[in-house]
Symmetry: C2
Amino acid sequence: MEAMIKNYMEKLQREGYKYTNQREEILRIIMDNKDDHLSCEEVHNIVSKENKDVGIATVYRTLQLFEKLNFVYRINFDDGVSRYELNLGTENHHHHHLICTKCGSVTEVKMDLLELLEDNIEKEEGFTIQDHNVKFYGICKNCKKEN
Amino acid sequence: MEAMIKNYMEKLQREGYKYTNQREEILRIIMDNKDDHLSCEEVHNIVSKENKDVGIATVYRTLQLFEKLNFVYRINFDDGVSRYELNLGTENHHHHHLICTKCGSVTEVKMDLLELLEDNIEKEEGFTIQDHNVKFYGICKNCKKEN
DNA sequence: TTGTGTGCAAAAATTTTGCAGGTCA
DNA sequence: TGACCTGCAAAATTTTTGCACACAA
């Protein structure tokens, strides 16, 4: 974990950005909560609880920077805020989100089946795919139990 | 087209909502621009140009109502606003959006290949899928030409 | 030292809400 | 008539920005 943070922060420096405590702190929080798809406000709440003094504007600016550097992905679950998740490399980005329309829970599933679809689109539409974003809406296992 | 509007508006009345000029007008605009994924503000601009007097709050409330009645889908292209597209029935919802990261254009493609993926998820995750949302990011045909 | 980064507060942008008056059924 | 609907303006929410000061390199 520490090694991982160091790795990202070195990449950040190589790109010409400065190593600051705020950036390290925010990166650490994203890593510690990588299943949670945190919003800027949530990251800010966590920092604040830990008695660290980081302004919300810095959180917004930092997460935008992390997105530009491909440290994180920005995602949207239609709840009015942007959320961020750690980018663990391309092979790991082949996961999709299952959003329960009853309880709002978000589960991740890993699947590669999209490649067939992507090949098709590249051929038929002349569109070169760089990335994708797939969300399934439905009823999760837990909510079905409760009926 | 007129028949289609009548159809939707009758369904609206059957659900206990009133037939108002504003609702018809907004529905008409969504239909007239069904390839455009309009935002509330854009709908409001179009209404205003046509000298019709509809407040922006009414546009927001009406599109939310249309979403609840399944007249439209709400979609998000990460540009900070909610957008809406006409729901032409389930068989027609098997289309995906290709978003060009260079020029921002949004193209629709129709494909059914997702069913295989969905069957898999239902089986392995116990998650009953009701709907999906698929976006591909990349470079569109036109932008590739320009290089 | 110098440009970059930060915190604060103000501003901007998007969406929601309260309320008085208007309209549909 | 009476409940629902609308427009307006104010409020709420999320995000961005300007600026003075702080800090990394």
